[in-house]
């Protein structure tokens, strides 16, 4: 029997994700992948994994996993209460577990996605170049679906022999931990007049309950634009901030549509995407136009 993790108690929403799927947007396939990519890269680096090793992206509630073999894991992303066999455990550090050990996540304290990485990665079939789950198409991950009680996840055995000092630490979402989310002007930025921009940049939006891996709706002051309502649909991207007719923003996330017809006032910079992705319903967010932040040393 191969090395496996057993899902004892699945949270309402947990899927297998890696760095995502590129090269198939022209077939309408979104990139998917870890919403908090920076934390995922960090956890894989902590374990000596390849950056693309798949892990569990765990959301919405608590639950438990059992390791049916000796393994090395690391947990990060959202802040959560972690226990191994009832003993409190630390995030962001490698944890050696023995066969039969149980990891329990009591609840998520702050943030949206807890990431559970394991040395060797989660071994599920590669679909269109990625192990990431895309629920809308039923592909990737474990049978293209969420994890549920009793699932058994195989642990991969591939780890690179040479540790590569990747550049994630200069771009990390974790170090960029406060202040406004940095954006650049979107393709339809000029449809919005000064008053609209002032509203957009001075409103403290709240992440709506109606948000998931496809998109985050934001509650707050509505914005209007001067363009005609009917913009021909055009390609979109993760982090694009769209303003639909109602005027409150919708941000396209990893599993969101590859095209859209709503005007895009701005796009979240890569340097802030992971931090934004970790915002949970009710969390406040402000936006500022600015440079990527990657150049600052």
């Amino acid at each position: 029997m191969s090395d496996v993790i057993t899902v004892i108690a699945a949270p309402p929403f947990a899927t297998i994700q890696d760095l995502g799927r590129v090269g198939f947007r022209d077939s309408g396939v979104p990139v998917s992948g870890l919403a908090d990519r920076e934390s995922g890269l960090l956890l894989n680096a902590i374990l000596g994994n390849e950056p693309s090793a798949a892990m569990i992206e765990w959301a919405v509630g608590g639950g438990a996993l059992r390791f049916d073999c000796a393994a090395e894991i690391a947990v990060g992303g959202a802040e959560a209460m972690l226990h191994i066999n009832g003993v409190k455990a630390d995030p962001w550090l490698p944890i050696v577990v023995a066969s039969g050990d149980e990891l329990r996540i009591d609840r998520i304290v702050r943030g949206r996605f807890v990431l559970i990485a394991i040395r060797g990665g989660i071994d599920v079939p590669v679909v269109l170049g990625s192990r990431s789950t895309l629920l809308s198409a039923g592909i990737g991950g474990l049978d293209g679906r969420r994890l549920r009680n009793g699932d058994q996840l195989r642990i991969g055995d591939h780890v690179p022999t040479q540790y590569e000092n990747i550049e994630y630490d200069k771009r990390g979402g974790r170090t960029n931990s406060g202040g406004p989310v940095t954006v650049m002007r979107g393709p339809q930025a000029s449809l919005f007049d000064d008053a609209a921009w002032t509203t957009f940049l001075n409103t403290e939006y709240l992440v709506s309950l109606a948000s998931d891996r496809s998109g985050y709706r934001l509650d707050g002051n509505a914005i209007s634009h001067s363009g005609s309502a009917a913009l021909p649909s055009e390609p979109a991207c993760v982090g694009a901030i769209q303003i639909p007719d109602g005027g409150t923003p919708i941000v396209i996330m990893n599993d969101g549509p590859t095209v859209g017809g709503y005007p895009k006032i701005a796009v979240i910079r890569d340097s802030c995407l992971s931090r934004f992705a970790q915002m949970a319903p009710g969390d406040p967010v402000r936006f500022a136009v600015g440079s990527s932040g990657f150049d600052i040393t």
Binding site: S27, G28, S233
Partner: protein, 216 residues
């Protein structure tokens, strides 16, 4: 006055080229021609080239190449593109049973018999304008004017995979179970989206499509 084509940043990892603000057949040809040219050049660190109605996007790895570099390469390529010279396309035939739940209503609202409606839907070759909304969902046009209807006032929560549908001047096949507001006039058993295939979408922007009526 805008000077087309316009190249803009679409976030840190993509650029958007706009060829016009209104949809037309000629603009579609220019978009597809430019997309083909960019794709065939295999620019380094470019991962996706996505044509749409009046725009195309080029996605790249911004850790490996800058917007300025990709932008100038793309500008040169689209500047050289001879608009109408190479609008070749693949013809894909899709077998359809015209048994959709909205067939009778569409016939009634368009004042056609069901046979006339079916005949008008399957007698022309459609061009694929854009793929998106869902994996494998491709917008096809233009529909015979007699079949043009606005979308349903209340969208369905769950449209079955393989549903052949019309709305506005367009027609499409729902590749997966999704919500949808189009009128369902038929079904096909052909897989519009197959993750084991490369490309996974049967029909992509630029392809030509004919619907072939089958019985039973």
């Amino acid at each position: 006055m805008d000077e087309f084509p316009i190249i803009q940043q679409l976030g840190d990892d993509a650029l958007l080229v706009t060829f016009a603000h209104t949809i037309s057949w000629d603009v579609g040809i220019r978009v597809r021609s430019a997309a083909r040219r960019i794709r065939n050049t295999h620019l380094s660190s470019v991962t996706d080239v996505v044509p749409a109605y009046t725009t195309l996007a080029v996605y790249f790895d911004s850790r490996a190449v800058s917007f300025a570099t990709v932008s100038s390469e793309v500008a040169t390529l689209i500047g050289d593109a001879d608009a109408a010279s190479d609008d070749r396309s693949t013809l894909i035939e899709i077998p359809v049973r015209y048994d959709g739940p909205d067939l009778a209503e569409v016939a009634e609202r368009t004042g056609l018999t069901q046979d006339e409606l079916i005949e008008k839907h399957c007698s022309r070759t459609y061009r694929a304008y854009m793929t998106g909304f869902a994996p494998g969902f491709t917008y096809l046009g233009d529909l015979d004017e007699a079949l043009v209807l606005p979308r349903r006032t209340s969208p369905r929560v769950r449209v079955p995979a393989g549903s052949v549908a019309i709305a506005g001047a367009q027609t499409a096949v729902y590749p997966l179970v999704t919500p949808g507001g189009w009128h369902l006039i038929g079904t096909t058993s052909i897989a519009m989206f197959d993750p084991a295939r490369d490309p996974p979408a049967l029909v992509r922007a630029g392809d030509s499509v004919r619907f072939v009526r089958i019985d039973g």
